[in-house]
Amino acid sequence: MQRSLLGCGLVCAATLASGQVALKPVPALQLEYSIQTNIPAKAAGNQDMETLVTVKNTAAAAQQVMVCVRGDSRFVVAGRELSLGSAVVTVKAAGTQLQCSKETSNTDLDSAIGNMGCRVLQSLAAGASVPLRFVTGSLPRDPNDRTPVQDGISRPSNNQREGKPPGPAGAGHRTRTLTGRYKDDAGAPIKGIRSVREIMQTSTVHFFTMPVAGWEMACLSRDEALNRDDKAFVAQDPPKRDYVLPCATPRNRTLACNQCYGMQTRFVIDKNLPAAVKHSREILNFKDVPLLALQRRDLSIPIELGLARVPPIAGPCNVSLSAQFIPGVGGALAPGFPGEPGTFSLTPSAIDLAAADGAGTLSFTGPASVPSNFAGDFFVTAVHADSCGGLATPGETLLTEWIRVRPQLLCDVNQSGAVDEADIAEIMAAIGTEAEAGNPLDVTGDRLVTVSDARRCALQCAKPNCAP
């Protein structure tokens, strides 16, 4: 009861009242938004997974808005902290063009970070809300209409495992195959390769307002959007073309070139755009890191914050961080709780975002053994501590974040409560990596993730054939 009351708070109240996900303000812009990730959506052949961003114009007049989303597929290599790059808006002076570039670097390729694309709302009426769907990946279609397994996870490349710089483009990527379970469109069993587009499990959303009339947007062709290394990467392995879908409309003047998503996409917007740049802002760097799982690889969670810096912010722009722990049923890890075996800390307590993005870390310190019944949630809040050169209001909440704390069962890598093929997929993808003691990926306990771990966990599946 205590948890249900404390755990909901204002966010849940708003959710319950409207029947939808509550909209959050975009700081310094007259927009509100909500973001929901990993929504299954039926599509021919495969089942698409989508991120849904709802944007509401809170201004008194219509606005032109561009929303860009990118994401990463979780399973970050232990000890390696990945940061999502920003959408870069640059002026091409010669062509009076604005280029929204979210080009993927080799590091991104290695770490399965991808661009889901941008959408331009040419005119969002005052008070209007628009849902924008971004495809984050796809899964093989299940003829029995069950929810397909999601194995969109990143496997560290050999170079990552050895702490070396990323290798040639393509390293770290894989084509996944589910044998036997799925059927193709003709009903024949799929025994072989079925390429599955990367599932982006977290999303970062960027907002731009661009009060310039008469835009034209060009969605560059696939080949143009690929850099040299990627061309070689695709040439070597044609199925990887799935990562970069062809643009259905090479030059779409309706500003709705929404087919142009993938690992590599650039958008060019023409006409009188230096003025647009002046008003465009990258407002929010929102990274959804929902889970802290003790007894597994994650004993700390990075929390990243980004802020508008166009135009430059004069003076300090401090954001204070705080975390409130809401113990779950039987939870025994609340700070100050009798018999508390460890402590959580969120550091630093404040970050100056005037010149650069910042990051905090929620970490757990304490003895190696923790109670098996721990459970609860952290509610992390970032609040503007000063006016950021007049851009913000002190006391304004920049973002809030829930971080769940759940027990870890052996082989239940994704903490779904049961072992199924999604867990096996995670173990398979991690083969070759070293594992610390107690890592659920390493059920054999030899400190190395191997195919024997995958097989042993397959024998612990809750349902026959590891069905989800």
Binding site: H173, T177, L178, V451, R455
Partner: protein, 182 residues
Amino acid sequence: MVKRILLAVLVSCAAPTFAATLSVTPDYQKITNSGVVSVRVDGLNENRLGGYDFFVTWDPAIVSLTSVLFAAPGEFDGLGQWELLDLGLASVRAVFFADPEDLVASQPEGFVLADLTFAGVGSGISLVDLEISELTDAFAQPFGAEVANGAIEVVPEPSTVWLIAGGALVAANRVLRRGFRR
């Protein structure tokens, strides 16, 4: 003679011997545009195969790996993955989901694990070598196996050969005519 026998005994003691074999079939083939090699396992013991993880290497100047088709004898469900780790290097791995009893009862002693499709990118002979990372049986116990590698020879298409030969004839004809004029 005694030395030879001793040497043979020493060699047999030093190198572990396995009943199972992981092999590339066919061990040699000529291709023009593309060809398929199968990786199969033979000589499995009574505990059969629960999963495998091996590396494949080839000469990237001669062929490139374009796809891997996993086989699942007995219609077993499983999960297969392959990954290009570098130029001329791929990782191929799979695990079967079936219960040990079903696997032992239904899986044959030998079968094809996967079909690897290679495309020719140059001419010459490329070795197709296997390196076992780990094999595991139906009860999740690792075991070893011998390896038998293969090779692919990429030869130009006949039409290409005729084009080259035709060009050579034309060039020779011109040289001869110049000689006669002089």
